[in-house]
Amino acid sequence: MFTFIDTLLIGLTSGAVYSLMAIALVLVWRSTRVVNFAQAGQALLSTYIGYECMGRFHSFWIALALAMILGAGVSALIEMLFMRTLFKRNTGPIAGVAPIIATLGLLGIIRGGIGIFMGGKETIIRPPLSNVGFTISGHTFALSPFKLVILSAVLIMMILLSLIFTKTNIGLALRASAYAPEIARLAGVKVDAIRTLGWAIAGAAGAAAGMLQTPNGTGALSPDSLEFSLLLVFGFIAAVIGGLESLVGAVIGGLLLGLVLAIVLMYVNATLLFMTAFVLLIVVLLVRPQGIMGKKAGRRA
């Protein structure tokens, strides 16, 4: 019984981390119709920034805030310097692929750069709250105060961002710019600035994912650690399962992925991690090619 509860808790808490990454990916997709593979690199960079800030201010929460702000800045800069040019050039056969490829290149540049400047250094971020599970009647559960923080961060982010998207003028401008940039411009929306804003929000979300997951894992941060690119793969799978369009979908996708992975690892075969993720994705897409929360016959990218 305890084992089953723990399995569910492991699934939910690890799924929350995938959701964080998925939220960042969905934000970029919703505001610019780009799958941003550089997100993993940006999260890595932001987390390094957060680590430096921790050294200076000795507070995880200040570091988290600064990492999110600077992460947003980096993301905005990437949009302005690279993506803007690519969006403008929407002709030619490569137009649909170019942004994806550019983000892959950016991922390589960020990782290489961090490798050169930060490689080999000992960089560890300790959680600000205990990561030791709650103990009830002698059993310690796979849920700790810090994991609760992550779970609630995911929910708060999802609700807050969903509200921004659906209830505010900025959200309306973000959606309009993504769906129909030309119409949005004709309606007076400063599409370029709005897109930069979309990337900035995503950059902040990605920074939060990095800053929360690092101490949740072993705490070690290294340019070589596959953590972030694995996170990207799983975050991306979560986002695709959820339907790419919807923040709620991203969270559902992440939690579902986490739960299924935990159950399979625990009860079926402990080595099937990557295959399970793949099979889950295929099954979801075969039933609903547009993802769980995706709208049917969505616009082409």
Partner: protein
């Protein structure tokens, strides 16, 4: 408050789509631009709203240079463009589509007044305010597109083929609303139309484009009566 275009040239790749066009549209006038497919009507309109860069020439409105401004900026000077086809965003609700037009105005109260006025003109939109624009009929979409443009409180309205793909009855209704709006709100309207007769019937002046050049300009009524224009564009 006059729209003055002089010697405007616009290229589409290697092709010159608009060739030394000069025209002058007075305030409060409804000008119909007619011509065959590929005559450069849409390109002319897109150049005026900053969507397509011009090659040479000039266009001014209220002293603003239209050719070298971004469309989002021109909206703030009172220039609204309803582009060809369904100029609505199907993924947004009717109300959101309307609100989009007034986002930059940042005055909620004023926007609401404008919206109510638009609902008076197009009651169908009010009935469907909460629905996705995707669910609207062609005519309703056109109303929504025009409504969205009006939300910006424009003084110069550029309309591209509002009759495209609509049934004759609906076209008549749309044209009538365009005429009414022009008169009531004192708008200056440039209406690009394939449906030449319908457009000329509500217009004050008419401009005939042929292969990017102006073939004729005159009062709309005179153009309707002009036998050559009738033969070439009105089909009788």
């Amino acid at each position: 408050m006059t729209l003055i275009v002089s010697e405007l040239c616009v290229d589409h790749g290697a092709i010159r789509a608009v060739d030394h066009v000069s025209l002058r549209i007075e305030q409060g006038q409804l000008a119909a631009v007619i011509g065959a497919n590929g005559a450069g009507k849409t390109t002319l309109l897109r150049a005026l709203s900053g969507l397509t860069p011009a090659r040479s020439g000039s266009a001014t409105w209220k002293g603003h240079d239209l050719l070298h401004s971004k469309p989002e900026k021109l909206v703030r000077f009172g220039v609204s463009h309803v582009s060809e086809g369904k100029s609505v965003i199907p993924e947004l609700s009717v109300e959101e589509n309307l609100n989009l037009g007034a986002l930059w105005r940042r005055n909620a109260k004023e926007s609401e007044q404008t919206r109510n006025k638009i609902f008076e003109t197009f009651p169908r939109l009010e009935e469907r305010a909460g629905q996705l624009a995707d669910t609207l009929s062609g005519g309703e979409r056109q109303m929504l597109a025009i409504g969205r443009a009006l939300m910006a409180k424009p003084e110069l309205l550029l309309l591209d083929e509002p009759s495209l793909g609509l049934a004759p009855l609906v076209i008549a209704q749309i044209f009538q609303s365009i005429r009414d709006l022009t008169t009531q709100m004192g708008l200056t309207v440039v209406l690009v139309e394939q449906n030449a007769l319908g457009a000329l019937e509500i217009a004050d002046v008419g401009i005939v484009l042929n292969l990017g050049r102006i073939a004729a300009t005159d009062r709309a009524q005179s153009l309707i009566e002009n036998p050559q224009v009738r033969a070439a564009y009105l089909g009788y």
